[in-house]
Amino acid sequence: MTKPIIQLQDVQKYFGDYHALRGINAEIDEGEFFSLLGPSGCGKTTLLRVIAGFEDVSTGRVLIDGKPMEGVAPNRRPTNMVFQSYAIFPHLSVARNVGFGLRRAGLTKDELGRRVGEALEMVGLSGYGARAAHALSGGQRQRVALARALILKPKVLLLDEPLSALDKKLREQMQVELIKLQRQVGITFILVTHDQEEALVMSDRIAVMFDGQIAQMDDPEVLYRRPKTRRVADFIGVMNFLPAEVLFEAGEKIEIEIAGLGRAEISSDQAPRGGGDGATSVGFRPETLTILYDGQQATDREARAKVEEVVYYGDMTYYDVRLEGTDKTVRLSMRNVFGREVLPIGAEARIAWSPGALVLFR
C-alpha cells in the first residue's frame, strides 16, 4: 500500500573540502511523518535542502515520486518548504503571502480568494487575510508559512526546524496541531529537528544523523528502546550507562557482568553489533528502574542504592542514586503518586530492575 515518495541513493554532498553528507540512503513513504534528527552540524538541514533543490548533490541520486531530480530547480519540484525563519514576505499581506504560489495556477479572483480562505481556515487563521505580515506573532507567522506551502498541495512538505523559535507551551500545542494537520491532508511531512522529544512525539519514523550519516532509522519506540549505538542512545532521551563485560554467549543468550548490578542474562536482540565506541557497556532508561517502598517486592532483580540527588518535576521525580559497592550513579525516574513520599537525599533505597530492559553496546 505504501510506496516510496522520496528515494535517496548514496547521496554525498561536499561544501569545498567539507564533507557534509556522507552517503545517505533512505526511502520515505507516501503519507509518512518522517523526521531528520541530529545535533547541529550533522547535515540534516543540508539533506532537507538537497530534497528541496536548494543544494545540488555532489554524487548520488534523489528521486521524488520515482523521478530523478538532477538539475530540477526548486520551483519545478513537487515539494514545498516551511523555513526556519518562516520567510514570510514582509511586503505582502497575509492573504497575498498564502496565495503567492497560486499566481501561475490561472485562477479567477473569486477562486483564489476561496482557496486562500480555505488554507487560512485549515491553519486556524480565518479572517487574518488582510493583516500585514509584520503584524503577526511568531505562532501566526508559522501558520501562515504552513498555509502558504500546503495551499499548493505538494507531494512532500519539508519543515526546517519549524517550532524552534516558539516558546515551550506554543511549541507543544503546535506539535499536536501539525500531527493532526498531517493526518488530515495525508501529505508526506519531512521534519528537521534537533529536539529529540519533538521527533519522538511527532514522527512515524525518525532518522538519527551524526556527521553526515544516518546512524539509525526506525520508528520512535524502537529508537527509544533499542538504540543501535551508544551515541544514538545518548542523544535520544536520558540513558544510563554502566561498564559491562560479556562472560559468554550461547545462541540467543548472552551472559554479562554489569558493574554494580552483577550478573545477568540478556537475549541477543538486546545486543546490537558495533556502536560501543570501543568499550562494552549496558544502557538502560531511568523509567526502567523503580524504587521499592516498604513491603514491595521486585518482580525481577533488586539492587541497593543511596539517593544522592533529587530533582522534583511535579508529576515526576528524578533521583540520582549510587549503586551499592560502586562509585557509579544512575538516574531513575518515579511518577509521583498521591500518598507516596519523595525520598530525601542520603536515603537508602531498594531498586528494582530488569535485565530485559537493558541494551548492550560493544
Binding site: A73, A87, F89, R96, F100
Partner: protein, 295 residues
C-alpha cells in the same frame, strides 16, 4: 521650587540631555541653512531698483518668472536633465549594487564598497574636468575611436550639450545611488528568495515579485539623493554643458552675480525649490501607492 532647582532637575532628564546633544548641530543648521533660506525667501519678494534694492513687498518677480519663457524653458530643461541623470544613475547603479550584495563573497563586500567610493577621493571639479578631457573634440574617446577607424570625424554630440551634463553627473552621483540600493538589498532575508523559488517562481519572477519590491526603499532613496542635488547643479553645466546644457542654477547665478538682480535670482531659487519639493513628493506618493497595491 526655585528656578535653580528646576534647571537642576531638567538637566537630569532625557529630554534635556537630548536637547543638549542636538543643540550644536541645530544651531549650526539654523545659522547656515535656515537663516540664508529665510533671507532668500524675503529677497524674492523685493525688487532690484537699478543699484539699490526696493524693499516694498511685491510679487512682480514671480510674475516675470512665470511669464518670461526663458525661465520656464530653463526650468523644464533642468527637470529633464536631472530626470535623465536620475534614471541613468539608478538604472546603472542597481546592477552594481545587486552584484555586490548577491554575488560578492561576504568577506569582500566592504572592499568592493570601498573601491566604489574611490572616485570620491578626487575633487568634484577635477572629475568634471576629466570628463572634458575624455569627451572633448580631441579627447580620449574621439581619438581612440578615430584611431581604431570606427568613426571618420570626431563626435560632437558628447560635449558642450545636455548629453555631456547627463554623463558627467551620472558618474559623479553613482556611489550615492549604489549605496542606498546596496543597503536595501543587504537587508533582504535570503530565505525569502528561496521561499519564492520554492513556491514556484523562477529567478526572473522572484526578482520582480520579491527582490525589487523589497529593494524599493533603497531605490526611492537613491532617486531622491540623485534628483534633488543635480537639479540645482551649476558647475557641471557651466563646464561641460555649453549653451544648450545650461540649467536653472546657472541662471540663478547669473542673476545674482552678473545681472546684479538678487531678488530675481532669489525668486528663481524659491521656485526651483518648490518645484523640486512637489516633484519629490509626487514621486514618493506614487511609490507608496505602488507598494500598497502590492499588499
Amino acid at each position: 521650587m526655585s528656578l535653580a532647582q528646576k534647571i537642576g532637575r531638567m538637566r537630569r532628564t532625557d529630554a534635556a540631555s537630548g536637547i543638549l546633544l542636538v543643540s550644536p548641530t541645530a544651531l549650526y543648521a539654523l545659522l547656515l541653512l535656515a537663516a540664508p533660506l529665510a533671507t532668500i525667501v524675503v529677497f524674492s519678494f523685493w525688487t532690484q531698483d537699478y543699484l539699490t534694492i526696493d524693499r516694498s513687498w511685491t510679487l512682480a518677480n514671480y510674475r516675470v518668472a512665470v511669464t518670461e519663457p526663458i525661465y520656464g524653458q530653463l526650468m523644464l530643461r533642468s527637470l529633464w536633465i536631472s530626470g535623465s541623470v536620475t534614471v541613468a544613475t539608478v538604472l546603472l547603479a542597481f546592477p552594481i549594487a545587486y552584484f555586490v550584495s548577491f554575488h560578492v563573497d561576504p568577506a569582500r563586500k566592504s572592499l568592493w564598497i570601498f573601491l566604489i567610493t574611490i572616485p570620491f577621493w578626487t575633487s568634484y571639479l577635477i572629475r568634471v574636468f576629466l570628463w572634458k578631457v575624455i569627451l572633448g573634440y580631441n579627447g580620449v574617446l574621439n581619438s581612440t575611436l578615430l584611431g581604431l577607424g570606427i568613426i571618420d570625424a570626431p563626435l560632437t554630440f558628447i560635449l558642450y550639450n545636455a548629453n555631456a551634463v547627463v554623463i558627467t553627473l551620472a558618474h559623479a552621483f553613482a556611489p550615492f545611488a549604489i549605496l542606498p540600493i546596496f543597503v536595501a538589498l543587504e537587508k533582504i532575508d535570503r530565505s525569502l528568495l528561496e521561499a519564492s523559488r520554492d513556491l514556484g517562481e523562477n529567478r526572473v519572477t522572484t526578482f520582480l515579485r520579491v527582490t525589487l519590491p523589497l529593494a524599493m526603499p533603497g531605490v526611492v532613496a537613491a532617486v531622491l539623493i540623485v534628483f534633488i542635488p543635480t537639479i540645482g547643479d551649476y558647475v557641471t553645466p557651466r563646464l561641460v554643458g555649453g549653451p544648450e546644457g545650461l540649467m536653472i542654477a546657472n541662471m540663478i547665478q547669473t542673476q545674482f552675480l552678473k545681472l546684479n538682480n538678487a531678488p530675481m535670482g532669489a525668486t528663481l531659487a524659491v521656485l526651483a525649490m518648490l518645484i523640486v519639493t512637489v516633484v519629490s513628493l509626487v514621486f514618493v506618493a506614487l511609490n507608496r501607492r505602488f507598494l500598497r497595491r502590492q499588499q
